[in-house]
């Protein structure tokens, strides 16, 4: 009897978070500041565990006039985040008072959302990258599913932390041109494509400047598999065929 009462009134708290794992996930996002603004890259894969189930998932989205968000992790949670942001931007626009939320404000808002969900043991299973330019100021920030957040000149989520950031640490510069920035991102994405099993060879690059945002059409990277060691992979392994 008492148990039923407890369950009835505290159902949400008891059941929430007990069973929580992601189902359809996106892999790394990479973001860099460049001369005129921010560049972000993401592939278009949605994995269902070890299966590459969806291959046209857009993981880079515009937020208001000044910001761009990229998400890795649970895609349905990203869709919910986009709903929250849509409402946020709507109310901001409805004021119609010449003020608008920039990337810094969006980043901090999302940090609060992610951290509060974490505290309720009901996280949004995402790592987000928010970038944008407002009044000449470039901004690039990241939030994780537990609310850890920081800003930097170059960021990555997921496997990108291990495979892309070392490249960015060596080769990122303050005054990259657009072409140089894209080349740098492609170098990181190619590395991820070789080494991250949930990466797919179909990516988009988004550019956001003071003027506005453009998301490229999906395209593929050229890869090279003709290494000598791949020709006869089993040649050194005794017992293999």
């Amino acid at each position: 009897m008492i148990l039923r009462w407890i369950l009835y009134y505290h159902q949400k708290e008891i059941l929430r978070g007990l069973i929580e794992y992601p189902y359809v996930t996106g892999t790394s996002i990479i973001g860099i500041k460049y001369k005129d603004g921010i560049l972000m890259a993401a592939d278009m894969g949605g994995s269902y565990g070890s299966t590459i189930r969806y291959k046209s998932v857009e993981r880079l989205k515009q937020v208001g006039k000044h910001s761009l968000i990229g998400a890795s992790g649970e895609i349905s949670d990203f869709q919910e985040i986009l709903k929250y942001l849509d409402e946020l931007i709507l109310h901001d626009n409805m004021w119609d008072d010449g003020n608008s939320l920039g990337p810094k404000e969006v980043h901090n808002y999302l940090t609060r959302v992610m951290y509060n969900r974490r505290n309720k043991f009901d996280p949004l299973w995402n790592s987000l990258v928010i970038g944008g330019v407002k009044n000449g100021q470039k901004y690039l920030g990241s939030v994780s599913m537990i609310g850890v957040h920081y800003e930097d000149d170059h960021l990555a989520t997921g496997f990108g932390n291990h495979l892309a950031r070392p490249i960015l640490r060596e080769e990122w510069r303050e005054d990259l041109s657009f072409e140089e920035g894209v080349k740098l991102l492609e170098k990181c994405m190619r590395n991820l494509l070789y080494r991250d099993r949930s990466a797919v060879n179909k990516l988009q690059i988004a550019k956001i400047t003071e003027e506005g945002l453009t998301v490229s059409q999906p395209y593929s990277l050229k890869t090279f598999w003709n290494f000598a060691a791949f020709q006869n992979p089993t040649v050194g392994a005794t017992g293999s065929w």
Partner: protein, 183 residues
């Protein structure tokens, strides 16, 4: 008001635009006019601040009405100041900071009905692009008054008159009358 600003800053790491602040304040004031067990606020406010689209000045009433102005005055003898400002305000967007302070002092002088304007009965606060909110100290205010030669022709006759001018100024800064908006 501080709560609203702090809460907004906590969520967005950005200052709450003045226009949105006065809106939220006005809503709270209005509720007090509609619930039978509450009473309206006993103060009108002039709220000034900066946001993305520049400098703004608002007047919040106990009724819950609020309006934006280029220049305004409130209090029991504010009409004299308003008359002065009405003549001058169109030039304010091009005026320098110091000229604006001078205009404010002139406007305040109008409300004194001939009494002497001194820094002991007058406070000036300034906020602007590149200048954080600050209250000018008494010496600076007195220097400005002297510089602009606006302390008035007649010195106070006796002590009681001087006390009265202090009291009057306190009342000017206090609640607005319950009269409807004089637009």
């Amino acid at each position: 008001m501080r709560s609203e600003c702090i809460n907004y800053g906590y969520t967005y790491e950005s200052p709450l635009p003045v226009g949105r602040l006065v809106y939220q304040l006005a809503d709270k004031a209005q509720v007090c006019t509609q619930r039978s067990w509450k009473r309206p606020y006993g103060v009108g406010l002039l709220v000034a601040g900066l946001d993305e689209s520049g400098a703004h000045l608002y007047n919040n009433c106990p009724s819950g009405n609020y309006f934006e102005y280029q220049a305004f005055a409130i209090g029991s003898r504010s009409q004299a100041a308003k008359t002065y400002l009405e003549r001058k305000f169109e030039k304010f967007t091009e005026s320098s900071r110091d000229d604006l302070v001078k205009d404010a002092l002139f406007a305040i002088r109008e409300t004194l009905q001939g009494e002497k304007l001194t820094s002991s009965v007058c406070t000036i606060a300034v906020v602007g692009v590149g200048e954080a909110f600050n209250i000018l100290d008494q010496e600076t205010v007195q220097a400005l008054i002297n510089e602009f030669e606006i302390s008035g022709e007649e010195a106070p006759i006796n002590e009681s008159v001087a006390e009265q001018s202090v009291g009057d100024d306190q009342r000017s800064a206090a609640a607005e009358e319950a009269a409807p908006m004089d637009i």
